[in-house]
Symmetry: C2
Subunit: 134 residues, 2 copies
């Protein structure tokens, strides 16, 4: 009898809410955690280079199991899409769904985070800062 602890192949085909199932309070709560905000921010910074990043690329933000916890939250609230490829998981922002559901919200959060990048201890991306007085 195989172990029941691991339910089917959840980790190979992770659950994602549909666009309509994405809820505003859950999204806001997800973004309110500094680590998760940093993950979203980092994804947003490379969006124009590559929409995806590997989970391991975020190792600067915490330990493996802690990051797995935060990735799960981001996935379950609809902020991120996870794709399994070999032993890697690639994550990306669900920008289309979020923009459709909550127009302007994601950009407002990311721009606000960019203004406070130092205070929030976000790894500063390439050239994100627009010369705008605080």
């Amino acid at each position: 009898m195989r172990s029941l602890r691991y339910d089917s192949d959840m980790s190979r085909t992770p659950l994602h809410p549909t666009r309509e199932q994405i809820e505003l309070p859950m999204v806001l709560d997800c973004l309110s955690d500094p680590i998760r905000l940093a993950i979203v921010y980092q994804l947003a910074q490379q969006e124009h280079i590559s929409s995806e990043l590997c989970c391991g690329d975020f190792s600067g933000l915490g330990g493996k199991s802690n990051l797995a916890y935060h990735f799960a939250k981001l996935r379950e609230c609809g902020l991120m899409q996870t794709r399994v490829a070999g032993t890697n998981r690639f994550v990306r922002l669900r920008r289309e769904d979020l923009d459709a559901r909550f127009p302007g919200l994601l950009d407002a959060v990311i721009n606000s985070a960019a203004k406070d990048a130092d205070r929030l201890q976000l790894l500063s991306g390439c050239d994100v800062v627009d010369a705008q007085s605080n």
Copy 2:
């Protein structure tokens, strides 16, 4: 000797963070609670009529002590300003500070909430809904 339980006249001159002290994660966390989101939403709806509402105007959203708890959170994170007048407390959104600090964020949240007003059980304001397909 007077009771030490009540520290000076905190409840008469409540503490508010300065504009610069307003932090993004705290604001997002504050807005992620359904009751607080409903409070902010209701304030935003009447903004063009009156910028202020009395605490008692929100009694539909919960009990007195629970609301006092949520008002304190909204005040401490910088979302709301509280003004004491007699036995009443009047609250208003700190829109200028929020828009200066996090441009577009408050409107994006309020518009997103408006789209889901029914799902979020927000008391529908007067004529807030713009005919925009979900």
